[in-house]
C-alpha cells in the first residue's frame, strides 16, 4: 500500500473518531452551543469518512468531494438556523439549554 492510500484511510479513521467524539459531546452536553459545536465536529467526521473511505484504494474521486461541499453548505445552513433559533430562544427564556433536559 502506498503512503497516500493509507493516508486516505487514516483520515477515514480520524473521521470515525471525530464522529464518536462529536456524538459524545452532542449527547453529554446540554449547552446548545456546545451541542452545535459537537454537531459540526460530527459532520466533519462524517465527511472525512466519506472522502477517506471512497478514495482509499481508488484514488481521487470528485463525487464525494462535491458531496462534501454540499454537506458543508448544508451544515452551515443548519448551524446558522440553529443559532437563529437558539438566540431567539435565549432571548425569550434566558436559557442556553432546553427545558426538558435538566
Amino acid at each position: 500500500m502506498s503512503g497516500a492510500i493509507s493516508g486516505y484511510l487514516v483520515f477515514a479513521w480520524s473521521g470515525v473518531l471525530l464522529f464518536g467524539l462529536g456524538l459524545f459531546g452532542f449527547i453529554a452536553h446540554r449547552h446548545l452551543l456546545r451541542r452545535l459545536l459537537a454537531f459540526n465536529i460530527m459532520g466533519s467526521g462524517a465527511f472525512l469518512v466519506l472522502v477517506g473511505l471512497a478514495q482509499d484504494g481508488r484514488g481521487v474521486d470528485p463525487v464525494p468531494h462535491a458531496m462534501v461541499i454540499t454537506g458543508i453548505v448544508v451544515a452551515v445552513a443548519s448551524t446558522a438556523l440553529a443559532l437563529v433559533v437558539f438566540r431567539r430562544w435565549y432571548r425569550a427564556s434566558g436559557r442556553t439549554d432546553l427545558p426538558e433536559d435538566t
Binding site: 459524545f24 468531494h65 462535491a66 458531496m67 461541499i69 458543508i72 445552513a77 446558522a80 438556523l81
Partner: protein, 233 residues
C-alpha cells in the same frame, strides 16, 4: 449529568467500534464512479470535475442545497419578524478596522471573482466565492459599516432569490427541446453553468451574510422594541 456522560461515552464508544469494524470489513467497491465522471467530463461543459459534478451531473443536489441555505434565511426572517428587534446597532466602530477594511474589501472582491471564475477549471466555485463575499460582508458589519442597500428588504430578497430562481429557470428552459430537467445542451453547458454560478455566488454571499445579520442584536431596549418593532398586525 455523570450518568448522561457515561451513557454518551458508552454510546459513542459503541459507535466508534462499530464504525471501525465497518471500515475494516469494507469490501472492495465494484462500481468505479470517478471513471464515469472522467469519461463524461467532455460533455459537461466545464473542465473541473468537481464543478462538473456539482453543477451538471449532480446539479439537482446542488439545487436542493441552495434551497436549504435559503430556508435558513427564511426562518431567520420569520423569527425576526415574530420577535422584532430594534434596528441593528452592531459594530465595534473601530477606526482601525474601518481603515483596514477599506484596503481589504477590494482585495476580497477580487479574490471572490477569481474563485468564481477559476471554478470551471480548477479548485474554486460558487460556494467558495460566495462565502468570501459573505466574509466581506461580515467584516464590514463588524466594522460598523452601514450597508444601506441591505436594508432594502425587497432588493435583499431579490438578491437572495436570484440564484435559485436562475438555477431553476435555466433548468426549465433547457427542457424546451424535450429533454429532462437540468439537461444543459452540450454546446452551451459552460455558459449556462457560469451564469448559474454567477448568480449563485451573489445569492450565497447574501444568504450567508443575512444569516449573520438577522440574528438578534447585542442590545436592544424594550422601548425601542415596542415602538420600532416589525410590522405587527
Amino acid at each position: 449529568m455523570i450518568l448522561r456522560a457515561i451513557l454518551a461515552g458508552l454510546l459513542s464508544l459503541g459507535v466508534i467500534v462499530a464504525l471501525g469494524w465497518a471500515v475494516l470489513e469494507r469490501p472492495a467497491p465494484v462500481e468505479n464512479l470517478p471513471e464515469r465522471v472522467a469519461s463524461a467530463m467532455p460533455e459537461s461543459g466545464v473542465e473541473h470535475p468537481i464543478t462538473a459534478v456539482l453543477l451538471n451531473f449532480r446539479s439537482y443536489d446542488t439545487l436542493l442545497e441552495i434551497a436549504v441555505l435559503l430556508l435558513a434565511v427564511v426562518v431567520a426572517l420569520a423569527l425576526r419578524e415574530a420577535q422584532p428587534d430594534r434596528p441593528e446597532q452592531m459594530g465595534l466602530d473601530n477606526p482601525l478596522l474601518r481603515s483596514v477594511m477599506a484596503w481589504l474589501l477590494p482585495l476580497i472582491l477580487v479574490v471572490a471573482g477569481f474563485l468564481l471564475w477559476a471554478g470551471s477549471y480548477q479548485p474554486g466555485g460558487a460556494f467558495q466565492a460566495g462565502s468570501v463575499l459573505a466574509a466581506a460582508g461580515v467584516l464590514l458589519r463588524l466594522a460598523g459599516a452601514h450597508l444601506g442597500w441591505l436594508d432594502n428588504a425587497a432588493l435583499l430578497r431579490a438578491g437572495l432569490a436570484l440564484g435559485l430562481l436562475t438555477f431553476i429557470g435555466i433548468g426549465m428552459v433547457v427542457m424546451l427541446p424535450g429533454v429532462p430537467f437540468l439537461t444543459y445542451p452540450e454546446a452551451h453547458a459552460g455558459t449556462l453553468i457560469l451564469a448559474i454560478e454567477l448568480t449563485l455566488t451573489l445569492s450565497i454571499g447574501l444568504t450567508l451574510l443575512s444569516l449573520f445579520r438577522l440574528n438578534p442584536p447585542y442590545a436592544d431596549d424594550p422601548d425601542d422594541a415596542r415602538t420600532q418593532g416589525g410590522p405587527k398586525p
